[in-house]
């Protein structure tokens, strides 16, 4: 694949980033004058980015498949001698796929927010942050080097931090925001180290430079780079072992959870791995590590999802698990890259749609999130019910719906190969699909079906059109996007020039038996959930549950672990170090000062003004000198 200089619409591609960034600046600096108009400006600018992105996409489609990548040089950014870095944009099939997802879903969610945040006194700030997010996310996917990607990477982290803590008058929310930032920073450390190793090994940090240099590099270097990139991806995409921030991140307003913590930002880790596919393809061990992380997270997330009673936290666990699928797919190598991105896109639609649905439910239920207090909402919130339902069918992989086309492809790919790996990863992915069906059905039935368990003060009602229209659009995507892109081969053909072609090879399990087992597991999951959460009454106080349920409620001990092994020791370390600094390090300085002061005080006594003392001293001196002279002689 050759990369051409940007022409036509692509040469103003920087506007895609610039317009939302301008919006953020305007809204933040504009003051109260913009309180009314500001949100609309933000929405318009976001749609403008979408239009530019769409035009560039059409421009790319008009070219032969191998000539679709375009590069736009912006300016000389860090000319520091050996590291001579310019800022530029890489517009290829992969980045444009993301641009479409980000700007389309993002703009829809901005529209939704017009309704959802209507009465919030700080909504201008909210829309400013959302625009900042869209700009940063676009920078992330359009950057032409790891360093520029990192600017967007941390930019979305900042936006996420600001939006999780948007209602930071509540200290818990402020803590959640900090937690997200800290854990992401650990990931960022991995990202930095990855770039350091790249520069150490190849003296370049641009995608094209790195891709060209990988061939002929030692396995150890590639593994090191791959593992560091994986750490980065774990932070951003809430993968094991840096996953624990995502549940708490639900403190942010629901549109934020939909856009940032479901559809786009948390998938950036998958983007990073797929963007670095040359490195990962070349290092089998790095890919194995990716697969392990993905498998652990997809199983762990699914288990946690079964036990959560908080609607948003259950969805967050589900997001973790679904991104685990994508990471697993990316770790499978050329067989999985395209499916990782495919599932990422469909997931962006159905998960965002369900989060918006959750927001709609909360809107109608006085911001409650406890599903044990829901039930029977389908009658009073028909649009929300139907749109959410389509997302639900998509995520459990109901035949025909979007998730069926994307997730089942990942499961199939996981079974490809020989030896123990396809069995372990394939079976994990397969079983987790059954669990997914269970916890999503549980969530859907507890919320919309069964008996009403409402608190007395709620009067649920359907949300306004600004909210329901985006939900409907996303629901259509949940239903049909997979069908349009998957079986037709559109998405795989589109991405092939970037991620490489994959020849079919042996599966340990595949074809009809696999499809059959997936379907059966899904039906079992639904049936179990139907029995427990629809047919039987749902107790308002949660039952004690099995040890596994209890552990899952506590997020499988992730916070306990952090508490005992990170926070407490850190606290003690900090306190002891401050003590040490004040008493010991500073003490030495002050002690010597005191020592000198003390000696001076003692010496001072000799200067007592008595002639006899001075004569004695003189005598002693003369004796000493004479004595010394005598000795020398």
């Amino acid at each position: 694949m050759t990369i051409h200089d940007a022409t036509g619409v692509a040469s103003i591609g920087w506007l895609m980033i610039g317009l939302p960034a301008l919006g953020a600046a305007l809204l933040l600096l504009g003051g109260k004058k913009l309180d009314k108009a500001g949100p609309y400006v933000a929405v318009l600018l976001s749609w403008a980015s979408f239009v530019i992105g769409l035009l560039i996409l059409l421009q790319l489609r008009g070219k032969p498949a191998d000539d679709r990548a375009m590069h736009l040089h912006l300016y000389s950014w860090i000319p520091a001698g050996q590291l001579n870095l310019s800022a530029g944009m890489l517009m290829d099939q992969l980045s444009l796929t993301f641009v479409m997802l980000i700007t389309f879903v993002g703009s829809l969610i901005l529209v939704y927010s017009l309704g959802y945040m209507q009465h919030d006194p700080d909504k201008r700030r909210f829309f400013a942050y959302l625009n900042l997010f869209v700009a940063s996310m676009l920078l992330l996917v359009l950057a032409d080097s790891y360093v520029l990607l990192f600017v967007g990477w941390e930019g979305v982290g900042l936006a996420s931090y600001l939006l999780i803590g948007f209602w930071n008058w509540n200290p818990e929310y402020a803590t959640a925001a900090n937690k997200a930032f800290f854990l992401n920073r650990i990931g960022d450390m991995g990202m930095l180290l990855a770039m350091f190793i790249m520069f150490w090994a190849w003296h370049t940090v641009s995608f094209s430079g790195v891709n060209a240099a990988v061939a002929g590099t030692g396995k150890g270097t590639l593994l090191a780079v791959g593992l560091c990139l994986l750490v980065a991806a774990c932070g951003k995409s809430a993968q094991f072992p840096l996953q624990s921030w995502l549940g708490d991140a639900m403190a942010g307003p629901t549109p934020v959870s939909a856009l940032i913590h479901a559809a786009t930002m948390v998938t950036a880790g998958v983007y990073l791995i797929v963007r670095s596919h040359v490195i990962f393809t070349a290092s089998e061990n790095a890919r194995l590590a990716v697969c392990i992380v993905g498998a652990i997270t997809l199983a762990g997330g699914a288990i946690i999802g079964c036990a959560k009673d908080d609607l948003k936290k259950a969805l967050a666990a589900s997001t973790m698990s679904q991104i685990g699928y994508m990471v697993l797919a990316a770790g499978l190598g050329p067989v999985g890259y395209a499916f990782a991105i495919f599932h990422l896109v469909t997931h962006g639609f159905f998960k965002a749609g369900m989060f918006l649905g959750a927001g709609s439910v909360m809107h109608g239920m006085n911001d409650q999130v406890n599903m044990r207090r829901f039930g029977g909402l389908w009658l009073v919130m028909k649009i929300t019910w139907v749109t959410f339902g389509l997302g639900f069918l998509a995520i459990i992989g109901f035949p025909g719906f979007s998730g069926f086309w994307s997730k089942d492809k990942i499961i199939e790919a996981a079974f490809e190969g020989t030896g123990w790996k396809p069995w372990v990863f394939g079976l994990t992915a397969l079983l987790a699909a059954g669990i997914t069906a269970f916890y999503m059905s549980r969530l859907f039935f507890m919320t919309f079906m069964g008996k009403r368990r409402w608190t007395e003060d709620v009067h649920p009602h359907e949300s306004p059109l600004t909210m329901t229209i985006p939900m409907m659009v996303l629901a259509i995507g949940s239903a049909f996007l997979g069908l349009i892109l998957g079986p037709t081969g559109i998405i795989t053909d589109w991405l092939e020039p970037v991620v490489g072609k994959h020849e079919d090879s042996q599966h340990v399990l595949g074809g009809a038996p696999l499809m059959g087992s997936t379907f059966v597991l899904m039906v079992i999951g639904i049936a179990l959930a139907w029995k427990m959460y629809w047919r039987d009454p749902v107790p308002i106080t949660p039952p004690v549950g099995s040890p596994l349920t209890q552990a899952a409620r506590r997020d499988l001990g992730q916070d306990d672990f952090n508490e005992s092994f990170v926070r407490r020791p850190g606290l003690h370390l900090t306190r002891s170090l401050v003590f040490f600094d004040n008493k010991v390090v500073d003490g030495v300085g002050n002690g010597s000062a005191a020592g000198i002061g003390g000696s001076s005080a003692r010496l001072k006594k000799m200067q007592n003004g008595y002639v006899r003392t001075y004569s004695l001293t003189m005598l002693l001196g003369v004796v000493v000198i004479l004595g010394a002279w005598w000795v020398v002689q």
Binding site: W77, I78, L158, W169, N170, F182, L192, F196, W200, G589
Partner: protein
């Protein structure tokens, strides 16, 4: 105009200003700040004009805008000034920071009837010395400025500082004098090694001398100790938190943001250039000290309650990174360090001044006395967060570029050291965001300022406090629903940033953004200076390591 004594002119203007301000009669004491600001602005304008005379790119000799006059020919001392890219950028940074600090110090009314004129005059005198110390190309002249700077700072802390100002000022003076005296010995011994003559103290004369290994190492150590105290590095850093905490914010800016740079500047200009062999010999020790400074000071910063001390510790950590970059001796790391000096000046200035704005309202330096201030002062919270993000090197803001260059350059030669240093990324997030959380987030604090400007205290005589009890990690005490948003009460007498303060904040943030997204002008100035330094030390950058099978040492 090429022979015009630009540097002398830039140095003299604030000195004249200081005289004028100092001589103002008591009746116009309040006018002294205006006069001081005008003089500092004139200096800035002349400085910018001078900078346009500077030619970038190689081939112009090490120094430009030079002036050389014999001063004490008997000892070879000259009055010699000149700048390379590094000195010029540092001088420009100082010229920018002085008016900004003066603007921020607008309402610094001295306590106890001390003369306001003297305060502002001292600040201007300090500006003169700062220019002198960076522009001096004669080792003795450098030493004179190096020590002379102590005088105004001593009085600025000792006369106009906080409650423990005497202690802090004396501590500062003793540490600095200690280093300075060791350096004086080294300066004289260095002259002995040189060819002597009328201009025997010129840096250019003393570069590339042939000395015995022991002599060179001893001289290096003599200079290095002085610079390590100034910079300051672990374990001789303890004077800085006290000095910064007891200073007025504007003084702290000039102290930490500018004066401490003399330490790292001196390491490049004198340690590396005059004693290249010894520098390479000392590198392992220096790098270890730098790593300790980075990590240790960052952890110490997490544990501070006094915000001024906290910022001082972050500076110690950042100075560790600068020193690390200098002694890693790659093109990338050294240019990163030089850029970091500028960036650190701007970022620290912003942190100190914004904390100053906060202290002016909350009347306390302690984090635990705050909480929920974003509700009351949203603009202050916003600019403070931006300054904090710059301190934690968020990409897009100034510090990131320099920190990244330092680390990636260091990794070329010392992967393990860079691996340790990169933990600063996480620690920086901790100390900045915990401070931000405990000061600005949480429920709105109901503080009402009394007519005399003091804050009303709670019923039990303590400060009204909300939510957060200690600075570190503690669980919030307030339950989720205690203060619903609609219950936020207006009516606090505390005002958000006024126009003057917004101007200060806006200027600093503009610098952060420009240097973050477009650092090219600064890097273009610095590159020739870096190449010159590396030539003096005779080192070359490592070639790409790919293909070598002994990789992965960073893991």
């Amino acid at each position: 105009m090429s022979n015009f004594p630009w540097l002398t002119t830039i140095g003299v203007i604030p000195l004249v200003g200081a005289g004028v301000v100092w001589a103002l009669p008591k009746a116009s004491a309040r006018g002294s700040r205006v006069v001081a600001l005008v003089f500092s602005l004139i200096t800035l304008v002349v400085g910018i004009v001078a900078a346009t005379q500077f030619k970038t790119g190689g081939g112009h000799g090490q120094f430009q805008l030079t002036e050389t006059h014999s001063w004490i020919p008997q000892f070879g001392v000259s009055y010699a000034l000149g700048v390379d890219g590094m000195a010029l950028t540092l001088i420009l940074m100082s010229l920018v920071l002085v008016p900004i600090s003066l603007l921020a110090a607008w309402n610094d009314v001295p306590e106890g009837g001390r003369r306001e004129q003297t305060y502002f005059a001292l600040l201007l005198v300090l500006e003169t010395f700062m220019i002198g110390v960076f522009a001096a190309t004669d080792v003795f002249l450098f030493y004179v400025f190096f020590e002379a700077m102590l005088i105004p700072v001593y009085f600025l802390i000792g006369l106009y500082g906080g409650p423990r100002r005497q202690y802090a000022a004396v501590k500062f003076l003793l540490f600095s004098l200690f280093g300075g005296l060791i350096m004086l010995v080294a300066v004289i011994a260095l002259y002995q090694q040189g060819p002597g003559g009328d201009h025997g103290f010129l840096v250019t004369t003393l570069t590339g001398l042939h000395m015995s290994t022991t002599t060179e190492r001893l001289l290096f150590v003599g200079f290095f100790i002085a610079f390590a105290i100034k910079a300051p590095m672990w374990p001789v850093h303890t004077w800085l938190p006290d000095a910064a905490s007891e200073s007025k914010p504007a003084v702290a800016v000039l102290l930490v943001g500018v004066l401490d740079k003399v330490g790292t500047f001196g390491m490049i200009r004198f340690c590396l250039q005059l004693f290249p062999e010894a520098s390479r010999w000392a590198t392992p020790v220096v790098i270890i000290l730098a790593i300790i400074s980075i990590v240790y000071a960052a952890i110490a910063a997490v544990g501070q309650n006094d915000m001024m001390r906290l910022i001082a510790y972050t500076s110690v950590s950042h100075f560790g990174l600068i020193v690390l970059g200098i002694f890693a001796l790659t093109q990338t790391s050294v240019i990163g360090s030089q850029l970091y000096m500028i960036n650190h000046g701007i970022t620290t200035a912003a942190l100190f001044l914004f904390v100053g704005f906060l202290i002016a309202r909350g009347k306390s330096k302690n984090i635990t006395d705050y909480g929920g201030w974003q509700r009351t002062t949203p603009i202050l919270a916003g600019v403070f967060l931006v300054a904090g993000l710059s301190a934690l090197s968020l990409p897009g803001l100034n510090s990131f570029v320099s920190e990244f260059l330092v680390l990636i350059g260091t990794f070329q030669r010392y992967p393990v050291a860079a691996g340790f240093a990169v933990t600063a990324v996480v620690l920086a997030a901790l100390y900045i965001l915990l401070m931000y959380k405990n000061v600005f987030t949480g429920p709105k604090q109901e503080l009402v300022a009394a007519p005399d400007g003091t804050l009303a205290l709670g019923e039990d005589g303590t400060r009204p406090r909300t939510g957060i009890t200690t600075t570190l990690f503690d669980e919030p005490e307030i339950a989720k629903d205690d203060v619903p948003p609609e219950a936020r009460v207006r009516g606090s007498a505390i005002q958000d940033l006024n126009l003057r303060e917004r101007l200060v904040a806006g200027l600093l943030i503009a610098f952060m953004l420009v240097l973050g997204f477009f650092p090219k002008p600064a890097l273009d100035l610095l590159r020739p200076a870096v190449d010159a330094t590396l030539q003096h030390v005779h080192v070359h950058d490592p070639a790409p390591h790919a293909g070598v099978t002994t990789e992965g040492s960073s893991k």
